[in-house]
């Protein structure tokens, strides 16, 4: 059987999705519980290998299991009882054997939260970047429009150890800036295939635009330069949340 799970996690105390010897990861915690319940080795496929500190409300994973699961709801209830409190299975369903959470994904939605007032409420410090500088939101919106679309995103991609991309052309379908509260901003990204740290590098660049360090008109030449050093800083991980992963075929049942 092929099982698809939608999972949420508070990334604050996690070293991201992928298993590492250096500390707790979502993959490791989830595997521990699934293998304990199923009593068989399991391999997880995640739609996005989120970085250390990044949160998720709609990460999608799938795994194949030999053992019969007569009641998926009960199974998922048990999984949630055993998972640490910062990881929760939101929903689950049986999917066709050939479903693959990574390869079948038709798009991903990431949300980035930031507070730009002088003070940030301590209640927001785990989920929102505090950047206490005046921001010109209109300029940021102008820059976001220029970043949207199909481009070579090399200037917005960090180099990952032991990994390289065949090319860095990606299609970023939309970037939407939504203001809320007093000087709080949510930036919503919709695209497929994001490059390493691409969202956080775009956020860092938008914030540089908002504070006047980069002009919105410079975005095109930054993209053309394919030079990471031309763009802004990498925004911190804790403002980022994998909000939703989109698929063409939806076969879901409630937890």
């Amino acid at each position: 059987m092929n099982v698809k799970l939608i999972i949420a996690y508070d990334g604050t105390d996690l070293l991201g999705w992928q298993k590492t010897p250096y500390g707790r990861t979502v993959e490791e915690e989830l595997l521990l519980v699934l293998e304990r319940i199923s009593q068989e080795p399991i391999k997880l496929q995640a739609a996005s290998r989120t970085d250390a500190g990044v949160h998720a409300k709609g990460q999608v994973v799938n795994f194949h299991i030999k053992r019969e699961i007569p009641d998926l709801q009960k199974f998922l209830y048990s999984v949630n009882q055993l998972l640490p409190k910062d990881i929760v299975v939101v929903d689950g369903s049986f999917v066709p054997e050939n479903f693959h959470s990574t390869l079948d994904s038709k798009g991903k939605i990431y949300h980035y939260h930031l507070d730009w007032g002088k003070i940030q409420f301590p209640q927001d410090r785990r989920y929102s970047w505090h950047y206490p500088h005046l921001l010109n939101i209109e300029a940021m919106k102008e820059a976001a429009l220029k970043i949207t679309g199909e481009h070579d995103f090399s200037a917005f991609c960090n180099v990952k150890k032991n990994e390289s991309y065949a090319h860095c052309i990606r299609n970023l379908k939309s970037i939407v800036l939504k203001e809320y509260g007093d000087k709080s901003l949510k930036i919503e990204f919709l695209g497929n295939h994001f490059l390493y740290k691409m969202v956080r590098n775009i956020v860092g660049t938008l914030v540089y635009v908002g504070s006047g360090k980069i002009k919105p008109e410079s975005i095109s030449s930054i993209l053309l330069s394919q030079d990471r050093s031309q763009a802004g800083i990498t925004a911190p991980a804790h403002g980022l949340c994998l909000y939703q992963v989109l698929y063409e075929i939806r076969a879901q049942s409630g937890v």
Copy 2:
């Protein structure tokens, strides 16, 4: 000089406002920093002595200080630099010598958050009570109206060690229920002089009404009974936040 501060804290890892030998409290952490900077003994007055685990976005404290503070903004900046990350001074101002944060308060606003869906996002687990049962929100609103007003609130008051009230008649000006997201609820309380655990006992009772354990019509007789055991459970501390304290005279300056 008499200084008024508006402070916010994430109560998760704090044993409430008041100093205790058993662990970290807001009073203790704030005193440590204020006395370190001012180099003189300081006594803090808080508008509300919030319990262990309760949060605040608008707690108000005041203290008298002999040392001259030539630049209050710089002073508060230093305080925030030295405070632990779960406590923040949001704003501060010089107030008349006779201002008293507790006695001069004309009202307090508390917010209580709860999630009643099967699943709670781990991102909300620190600030919202997870009560995974179907709730009849209309019945809760009906009950809230009956609790609003001037009553003897003995049935909603826990007995505190070494402390008793002359009487338990209080005037609860309003209780407003606001639904948001998917099965999330914010309950806003406006009143002055709240009794010990009164808000959390009302929330516990409203939730009992919502899940059918208490009928809205029974609220009047519960109030008349003056019997704590007639009302619902005490809702957990982590859903509660002291949102704002109201005063007649406002003399504030930005941080």
